[in-house]
């Protein structure tokens, strides 16, 4: 995982290929796009980490901010021409975990960990309110086909809750047997992992795995690509005894597209010009590009238009690595979410469809800041599907 970054990190040539998408049309590293100093690019970060490891520079809050302004979006992994490219984000996470171990992190990051540790969510909201959105949605019982893992934003954030509510309604309408964990749900830990708090991550992963096992969960459907990613790719390292116990994780767009194909969801006309944001943890992390688009294209009346940067070249909303709460990249027109909603607006679309509650919250704020309220609306795919459900 992260251990050997110190012996490899000098290999970055600071060539800057990682600053771009494939066609070089714009700057695609969100933190470099936002701050413009080379220190905030991937190469800047890797060189500064190396300097810190060699005691050529001291730790400072500025250094830590540079490190934590990375949203772990993986554009660099996609674009770096070197053989080590797949390891870049692991190197950054490795350096963060060293900073965490030494207790040297920015205050916003420390607050994020405290909140997750104390409240089970980074928003510092009460555990007893986690299922307040659910309004009668049943709890998971052994034998249910799917555990609907809602996640922190789906549970607490006003916009995330709409996304969660819509998904629950669509699943019910399609006759899927599912349940939620309610107030017993824990934070998935994806951000905690990316921010380098490996001890806390292990605790979360073990707790969740334990709970899944006790309830004999076999299929998990997640609202958030972040939860999907961490459960699919990182949980196996902790807790669950996989010799006897396995579960399969789906992102909800995979499940919905399957249901549409099987005719279990019927869709009626919903005339709109829509563009779609590929979430980093669905796209670049897990190569799920088609299903969300196929869902949108299955809805009669929807015209799907692409933003200039899409699929593996998509531009991050700026919310990754806990930044949907900490927002280290906020401020002014150059913040990634604002740049991205302008790009969405340029397509002529009236709806910006998202498959991730963190994109939903970032873009909702950005649309206000850009004064695009009456021109562009951001909606979760589950919300669009719910609106389009055929009453027949």
């Amino acid at each position: 995982m992260t251990q050997d970054y110190a012996s490899q990190i000098h290999r970055c040539f600071r060539c800057g290929y990682c600053k771009f998408p494939t066609d070089y049309s714009s700057l695609n590293c969100p933190s470099f796009r936002r701050f413009r100093f080379d220190s905030y690019s991937t190469g800047g970060r890797l060189w500064l980490i190396y300097a810190w490891l060699r005691n050529e520079i001291d730790w400072s809050e500025h250094l830590a901010e540079i490190l934590y302004a990375c949203t772990t979006c993986k554009n660099c992994v996609e674009q770096c021409p070197m053989k080590f490219s797949t390891d870049i984000v692991d190197w950054i996470v490795g350096a963060r975990s060293d900073m965490v171990e030494k207790g040297r992190i920015p205050p916003q990051v420390a607050r994020f960990f405290e909140a997750v540790h104390g409240y089970g969510n980074p928003l510092k909201l009460l555990r007893s309110d986690r299922a307040a959105w659910a309004d009668g949605t049943k709890k998971y019982e052994p034998g249910d086909e799917y555990l609907f893992y809602v996640g922190c934003l789906g549970s607490y954030d006003e916009n995330g809750q709409k996304m969660a509510r819509s998904l629950a309604d669509v699943l019910s309408a399609a006759g899927v047997s599912f349940g939620i964990l309610g107030n017993e749900e824990e934070c998935c830990g994806n951000e905690v992992y990316m921010l380098g708090e490996m001890g806390l991550f292990q605790t979360l992963a073990e707790k969740n795995n334990q709970q899944f096992k006790e309830l004999s969960v076999t299929n998990i459907v997640t609202l958030s690509p972040h939860a999907y990613n961490v459960m699919k790719n990182n949980y196996h390292q902790f807790g669950a005894d996989f010799a006897e116990y396995h579960y399969t994780v789906y992102h909800y767009t995979q499940l919905l597209y399957g249901l549409i194909k099987e005719n279990k969801i019927r869709l009626s006309n919903n005339k709109a010009k829509v563009t779609y944001q590929d979430p980093c943890f669905l796209g670049r992390y897990n190569q799920i590009y088609d299903e969300p688009r196929q869902i949108l294209q299955s809805i009669p009346g929807i015209e799907l238009v692409e933003m200039e940067r899409n699929r593996e070249n998509s531009f991050c909303c700026g919310g990754g690595s806990g930044n949907f709460v900490m927002d280290l990249l906020a401020g002014g027109k150059d913040s990634p979410s604002r740049a991205r909603v302008r790009e969405a607006h340029d397509t002529g679309a009236e709806v910006l469809a998202v498959a991730c509650p963190s994109c939903l919250t970032m873009f909702t704020d950005a649309i206000k800041a850009e004064d695009l309220d009456d021109k562009l609306v951001v909606k979760g795919i589950s919300q669009i599907v719910k609106e389009s459900l055929s009453s027949k």
Partner: protein, 459 residues
């Protein structure tokens, strides 16, 4: 000192100045082998007026100013030798194309990436000469160091394609150079008037900051292809180049050699690029290339090899990522090259030296030689990798490059984008009156010696 910081903030806004250790660390280095030296400030101006104000401040406070593009020249040209201000140009990113006149005016920080994608999107029938440096490299800096790109075989150095300049002089005045000094059109950097662009191109930012630059654009044909010619006889390369360039039909000609993969050891790969608006045009050019080299095919001294569909996209890519990948072949994150501009007839001697030095200093090598201006000269790179985590390989590579530079000069070449030591070597050999002229020009333009001090200092 803090007054300077506050004034810089007033000029460009607080988000675009730093005096923090992290920016000073990063901007005090480049990816090559020159020793680091940190700036006191890094500043990112947005407009020509802001550049002027910074230069006036620097004159008043007698602090150095080093303009910086992407810092990819590899020879330390943006390392501030006595500290001061590094002026990162990247926020000056305006692009204005004159389609009918076939030129573009770019601001001082426009990257090759940005221009390439702007043309592809808006003017697909036009192109510029793209170098193989990573795409973040800037158009202006590449012209400032007399770079070479995909059109250099046909059109000369990228600086030969410049069609006008706007410069902030070291004393703060803005000055226009070329047709744009008297007209609203940027079609010529000098002729029919005295060509003053020579006061700025090749000077590494020591005579002013270029804030806008006109660059000629050329027809972008609909199709492009690459042919691979191989021979194991270095002594034939000059004649092969002569024959190919005689056709006046090749877009670009690059000869490369490296010890790995083993099947290529001792073999010279010549990449010959052609363009056309139809398959017939391409086919005709292929035939001309074949005919030009028939003699060597018949004597079994060389021949064209098929290029697999797997290899083709990377060979046709602009820029070529393979050039950059060389930095990681020894898993050390570094390479540097000494790149003399040299007579093509010297190719065999240069290759021999390249290999000799690699073996003497136990280094991994490669070389790419690009033909310049229809065969009047070539850029020959002596490229060696080093491991950034191993000071010993860095020292060995540095020594090898120094020796390569001496050798190249002895053999009639002139060092391209020379580092400080190589500049010294060049100036030691320079005609004394030429050297004096260099010094007088510099003194006249930059009386306080604030611009990129250390470079081209004729003492």
């Amino acid at each position: 000192m803090s007054d300077i910081y506050a004034t810089l903030q007033e000029i460009v806004g607080k988000d675009y100045v730093s005096n923090q250790a992290e920016e000073r660390y990063f901007y005090g280095r480049d990816p090559g082998l020159m020793p680091p030296h940190e700036p006191d400030y890094v500043v990112m101006p947005r407009t020509t007026e802001e550049v002027q104000e910074i230069i006036r401040l620097a004159n008043k406070e007698k602090v150095a100013v080093v303009p910086k593009g992407a810092g990819l020249s590899l020879t330390g040209l943006v390392i501030p030798q006595i500290g001061g201000i590094v002026m990162d140009m990247k926020r000056m990113e305006g692009i204005e194309v004159n389609e009918a006149g076939r030129y573009v005016i770019v601001e001082g920080g426009v990257t090759h990436a940005a221009l390439k994608s702007h043309l592809q999107k808006n003017y697909p029938h036009l192109r510029h000469s793209i170098p193989d440096s990573p795409p973040i490299a800037t158009i202006v800096a590449n012209a400032v160091i007399h770079g070479q790109g995909r059109l250099t075989q046909q059109r000369g150095f990228n600086s030969d394609m410049v069609s006008g300049l706007e410069v902030v002089l070291p004393t703060g005045e803005v000055c226009r150079i070329g047709s744009c000094a008297v007209s609203s059109y940027w079609f010529s950097k000098g002729p029919p008037m005295p060509d003053l662009s020579g006061l700025f191109l090749g000077w590494f930012g020591t005579t002013g900051v270029i804030t806008r630059l006109g660059m000629k654009l050329y027809p972008c044909k609909k199709m492009r292809d690459v042919m691979l010619y191989i021979t194991d006889r270095a002594e034939l390369i000059p004649d092969i180049i002569r024959k190919l360039s005689h056709t006046e039909m090749m877009e670009d000609i690059v000869v490369s050699c490296a010890p790995l993969p083993l099947r290529f050891k001792g073999v010279f790969n010549m990449l010959v690029y052609i363009t056309g608006d139809s398959e017939e045009e391409l086919e005709f050019k292929r035939k001309m290339a074949w005919d030009a080299l028939r003699e060597y095919f018949e004597s079994r001294d060389g021949g064209f090899m098929g290029v697999s569909p797997y290899m083709k996209p990377s060979l046709l890519a602009m820029p070529s990522k393979d050039t950059t990948r060389f930095a990681d072949v020894s898993k050390g994150g570094g390479f540097e090259y000494s790149g003399p501009i040299a007579p093509i007839e010297k190719y065999p001697q240069y290759v021999k030296k390249l290999e000799e030095l690699a073996s003497k200093y136990n280094l991994f090598y490669s070389s790419a030689a690009r033909v310049i201006d229809g065969g009047h000269s070539m850029m020959f790179s002596f490229s060696y990798t080093f491991n950034r985590a191993d000071p010993d390989t860095m020292n060995r590579a540095k020594t090898a490059l120094d020796e390569a530079a001496e050798f190249a000069l002895d053999e009639g070449g002139v060092i391209w984008k020379p580092n400080l030591n190589e500049q010294r070597m060049v100036m030691e050999r320079m005609d004394p009156n030429t050297l004096k002229l260099l010094g007088k020009i510099k003194q006249l333009l930059d009386p306080n010696g604030i611009m990129n001090p250390g470079n081209w200092e004729a003492k």
